[in-house]
Structures are given as structure tokens and as C-alpha cells.
Symmetry: none
Subunit: 205 residues, 4 copies
DNA sequence: AATGAATGAGTTTTCATTCAT
DNA sequence: CATGAATGAAAACTCATTCAT
């Protein structure tokens, strides 16, 4: 059945869906508009996907894979721990505050009750990946005696939460435009300071 | 004109709207279903409210007033600062994780682009109130020499973010049922520890 | 039953209905708006009239009686026949072109299929009265040898139709604002000229 | 986009719309009833037309084109002027008194305030065409010395107004069924007589 | 007799989905 | 396999009418 479906057309449809879902949300998006945006007929949509819900699920999964992966990929254990933490916090915060990140978050939150599987997929592809990365880095730094973290996974989550202070909720509530680099750095610096007071080792702070 | 509309029926409608909005979100809710759930006719809905958007706005405002007010009202400067912080964190977290809090958050986030005024109203009625309360308490404690907080408002936000570690995002993504008291306390205790390492005064820690 | 209904309130309602029907037409008018405009409750409307249709019928009848009567009341057999005709044509045309006349015509025409009785009532109260008046005047003038009209009623209708040349249809189709006195007189003068070429007597032309 | 919509179905819809609009007027017609009458679904209506207003506009335009065009197309300058005028008057009056003409007139008048563009389109397609045709004929006859018309356009309008005596208003007000040929001829003959008394040339009368 | 809250059938319009071509 | 016309079940909202107070 799916032997004759071309992957190019599948991508083409997902590109269109991407634009429309991002602009209008799940409920607001119409299959007609997605078809138009993708340059295919409405019927073709149903040849490649089982319906609107399935198309949305695939879209969220793909965007998560594409955008959220490879952001936390290289572990640096040579430089100053504080500098590394600042870089990690800055990357995470920048993505969370970006239009793409914001839109995706909103949609997933809005439809979490309806699409719990999708919500989990989002978590695994994004936050879980970041936590896992930072967690492993903290563990290794602790092993090397440069940090003193007892529960690395929990501490990683604490750090990311600290980084979201002030800016993130306000941005989600449309009370803030995309913040400047300087604003982001100010918040991240404060987060790193608080974090290291608890988990730092004297010699390195 | 609307003076003579019975407040009981108004409440009855808001009760129904409450159930339907909570279950289906703003877009997903239908006026027909709200009418049915409230036990009134569709026409009556429009006698009491100007339309779906107005009904939603009123519902959000009322729930904010009802649920979020009077949670942070008494400032305690006698006991142990750590104990006070634990109590504050526990209250905030309990509310954020409750069904009502969760539902409200989801809807406001989902519709923030469409109803920015409402999003701000939510912020003022909820998070802003909490931040303001804690901020003042931190200031007073600092004045009394029991804490050392330079930027009380920012520190307050950091504390609330720390308290949301682990549980809140997972709950928003339907990956967690309503957590137990013990789980909440474990997270809050950790938050208080980290917070006081940065902002505490030796004699009191 | 109608013993206790006050004529003042009835008039009050008709005043309100008058404004709303004139502004919005029959279909466009809402009973709620009429009640508001009349300063009574919706219920009261139904105490005085059997429903929207009945209210509309009464309104049309009353307006016809009030506005169209007493326009052609005095018969002048002393002056120049041409001058008298000009005056009659001018009066008729002015009324037909007025906002009130136009509105009434539009409504009656629009609803003639639905309210044929009302259409007839309009005809009797307006056009028929005018035709009757002119017809009798033509008859008397013919008796006095100042005109030569064989079928006075038909000739009267011909005269009124001639007077409506150019202006009336365009006004009905919203292609013309309320015309000036000069424009009206130019058309009426032409009508009188054509009319007297057929029905005039040499000595008086 | 709309290239592939079948013209047959479009016609089918317009046929249905035609029946419903004619019976109920613009406001009175419902899209549901039009769909039913046309034998299509409500959705299909919106595939072919942008909405009720657009459907109505198209309907009026098509009927005007279909019914009013090609009625006054051949100019005859050989026969008796009186005979030619009688033929022109008869044709015009027959159309104005027909069910199609009557219905169209009623609707256009009723909605002229809401659709002034449509009212003008009706005027151009119908009355204007007739006036133009007769006007040119009168001019040519005058040039040939068979008539003496100074203002051909105005005289043409006078003639058409004279032809509408007695029958037209009564028919519009539902006080008359479709009149017989004999009645029409009686009125037209009288109109021609009056017209030629003013604009005729002795030798030809 | 007056009120106006309540009703519910009605309105236009949208849209996910199907299926003949 | 791709198409897009057709569908029909919703949606939000209106309004003439009724009836308890």
C-alpha cells in the first residue's frame, strides 16, 4: 500500500503542515489550507496521513527531532564549569524563547489532554534530552572533583528551571517580545551563581 | 439592563462553562454543550454574556479571583525563615499542580496569542501576586538581617522556579497524576536548600 | 380585554415601530429593538399587537393615513388649468421622492407577496386617493369646457405616470439623492405640456 | 481554482436560487432551502459562491442578462411610426408585467439600500437599455422628418412611463393577475396617442 | 397590565472527510 | 496514485414569542 507513496511528497506535505500549524495552532489549522500551502490536493493528504490528528502528531514529532536535537551534543570538560553552564543555559533559554520553541510549547500544552502520547514525545525529544545531557555532564564533573552534585538528574532540572526565571512565563503570556542576548545572559548568570553556591567546589568557584 | 438578571443563573452558567472549558479548552468547547451542561438554553447564554469570548474571559477572571487570591496573605516574620519558605513553596506548588490550576494554565497559554489581555489578567491575578508577596517578605527579612537578598523580586521568581523542578512540566504534559504531599515536599525542601545557600545568613541556616 | 389598554401606549409603540421599520425594513427590524425604541417591554408589544406582522400592518396603514391624506384636498377651478396641474404634479412628485415616501414604497413592494392586504391598503390610502382627486378635478374642468378629457380616471393616471419620468425610478434605485425643486419642476412642466397637448382645449392653452 | 467546477451544477444552483429568491425575496430566502431546492448540499453552495450575497448578486446579473437583453435590438424605420411605437411599448410592458420581471423589480427595489451596485446593474441591463434604444430610434425618426422630438432621451422615458399607466403599479401591489394582451394593448394605444400628439408630425398622424 | 428572562428553532458559514473520475 | 467536488454535521449566534412574576 505505502510502496508507491513518495517520501518527497510526504515531506512536502509536512512542510506545508508545519507552516499552517505554527501559524494557526491545531484547532485553527484547516486541512484545506494545509493542502494549499503544501501544493497538493486535499485527497492526497489522506493518502499519506490518516487524518488531521495523525498529521499533527507526525508534525510535532518531526519538528522535535529536527529542531531540538543536536543542541546539546558536545560535552566540554576542559573549561571553567561556570562558563560551560552559562553556555548550556544560554542555548536552552534561547531556544525556549524562540518563536518556534514557543509555538511548539503552546500547541503541545494546549492539546496535551487530547494527545498525551504526543506530549510525551515532545518531552522525550526536548526537555528530556537536555536534562539527560546536563545530567551526564554534572556527573562527570563531580567524578573529576570539579563539582559536588549528589543527584545529577534532579540538579540538572533545577538548573534549567532557574534559567527560566523572569523571562519565560512572561514570554509565554505574550507580555514580552523576543528578549535580547543581554537580558538572557543576565538571567543565566544569576542562575549559574545560585547553582554553583550549592553544587560548586570551592577551588573552582 | 443586566441588573435584573439573576446572579444564581449567572453562576449556574459559569459552573457549566467551567466544566466544559476545563474539559475541552476554549476552541474545543461549544456553546451548545455549555448550555446543556449549565441546564439552560443557548439563548440564555447570550442574555448573560456577550458571546463565547466574553464568557471565557469572565470565567478566567472569576476562577483567578476565586482560586488564586488569599493564598499568600499572611506574612510570618517570627519563625524560622526556612520553614516559612517551605510553607510558601508548598502552597504555590500545590495550587499549580491542582486540576484547576493546571486547566487554567493550559487554556491561558493556548489562547494567549488570541487573548493577550486575558493572559495578562491571569498573570496579575496569579503569578504576580505570589511574586509580590514573597518579594516583600524577602525584603523585610533582609532588613531584619535574617536573609541577604539584593534583588528581592528577582530572587522571589528564582525561588518559585526552583520549586517547579521535576513535577510541574511533567504534570502539564500529562505524564504525572496529581503528586503526593511527600513528593511536593521533597522538591520544595531541595528548592529551599539551594535558595538559602545563596540568600541565607549563616546564623539562620 | 382591550378595555384597559391605553391608546397613549399604543401610539408610543407605533412611534417606535415607525422609526425601526423605516430604518431597517420589515425583515430587518427586530421586536427587541422596537420595544427599546418605544420604551416598553417586549411583552407589552404582544399585549397591544398580535405579533410582528400585525404590528407592521398597523404601522403601514397609520402612516398612509397620516402622511398621504390631506395632500390633495382643495379643488381649484378658478386659475389656469396648467398652473393647477403643475401644482398637483409637484406635490405628488415631492412626496414620492421624499425619504418617507420612498421607504414606505420599498417596504410595501418588498412585502407585497407576503402582505397583499397591506399592499392594497397602501394603494387605497395613497395612489388611489390621488387618482380619485385628480380624476374628479379633470371631470369638472371638462364639464366647464376648460379641458377635454373622455376617461378622467385613466387620464389622471397617465398624468401621474408622466410626472414620474426620469427621477422616480432612479431615486428608487439609489442612483439619485433627493432632487431639487428645480429638477422636479422641469419634469412636471414637461408632463403638463404633453398632457395638455392631448387633453387641453385650444382657448386655454 | 473554480475552473473545474461544473457549469451544469452552477446552473442547477442558480435555478434553485432563482425559485427561492423569487418566492421569498433576499432576506426571506435561506441557504438551506436553496440547497434543498437545487438538490445539492449546503456545502456545495459555498464551493460555487462566496456566500448568500454573492449568490444573490450573480442571480440578479444572470437574470438581467438573460431576460432583458435582445428585446430591443432591431430598429424599424420603414413602417408607420405609431405602429413601431406600439410594438416597442407592448414588448416593454409585457416584460415588466411578467412574473420574472416583477420578481426581479421587487427584489432589487427592496435591497437597493443594501446593494446599490446591484440596483445600478439592474438599471443598466434593463431600463437604460430600453431608453437608449428608443432614444436612438426617436432621434433617427426626427432626422427623417417623421417625428419632432427635441430631447429624445427624455421623451423616451416619458413614453415608457405613459405605457405603465394603470397596470404596472397595481400588478406590483398584487392587485392584478398577469394582464391580457388586450388590456396591454389598450394602455399602449392610449400612450402612443398621447405621445404622438406632442411629438408627432402632422403628415404622419 | 407590564415586565423581561427564557426558550429553541432558525440563520449563515466552516471544515474534516469521502469517493468518483 | 492524485484530484477536488460533494457532503453533512457541526459551529456561533439571532430573534419572535411565551409566561411566571
Amino acid at each position: 500500500m505505502s510502496d508507491t507513496l513518495s517520501p518527497e511528497k510526504r515531506d512536502q506535505i509536512l512542510q506545508g503542515a508545519s507552516r499552517v500549524f505554527a501559524a494557526d495552532g491545531y484547532e485553527g489549522a484547516s486541512m484545506a489550507r494545509i493542502a494549499q500551502e503544501a501544493g497538493v490536493s486535499k485527497g492526497t493528504l489522506y493518502n499519506y496521513f490518516d487524518g488531521k490528528a495523525a498529521l499533527f502528531s507526525t508534525y510535532v514529532a518531526e519538528v522535535c527531532q529536527r529542531n531540538l536535537a543536536h543542541v546539546f551534543d558536545r560535552a566540554d570538560h576542559d573549561g571553567d564549569p561556570a562558563a560551560v553552564l552559562r553556555e548550556i543555559g544560554r542555548r536552552m533559554l534561547t531556544m525556549v524563547l524562540s518563536d518556534a520553541g514557543l509555538t511548539m510549547y503552546r500547541m503541545v500544552i494546549a492539546e496535551a489532554a487530547k494527545f498525551p502520547i504526543l506530549a510525551r514525545a515532545f518531552f522525550e525529544a526536548g526537555p528530556a534530552r537536555a536534562i539527560d545531557f546536563l545530567s551526564r555532564w554534572l556527573e562527570e564533573e563531580t567524578r573529576r572533583g570539579r563539582l559536588a552534585v549528589d543527584d545529577p538528574s534532579f540538579a540538572a532540572e533545577q538548573f534549567f528551571n532557574l534559567c527560566q526565571t523572569h523571562l519565560v512565563l512572561r514570554r509565554k503570556l505574550e507580555m514580552l517580545a523576543d528578549p535580547s542576548e543581554a537580558e538572557i545572559e543576565r538571567v543565566v548568570d544569576a542562575a549559574v551563581r545560585v547553582f554553583l553556591r550549592s553544587y560548586g567546589v570551592k577551588a573552582f568557584t
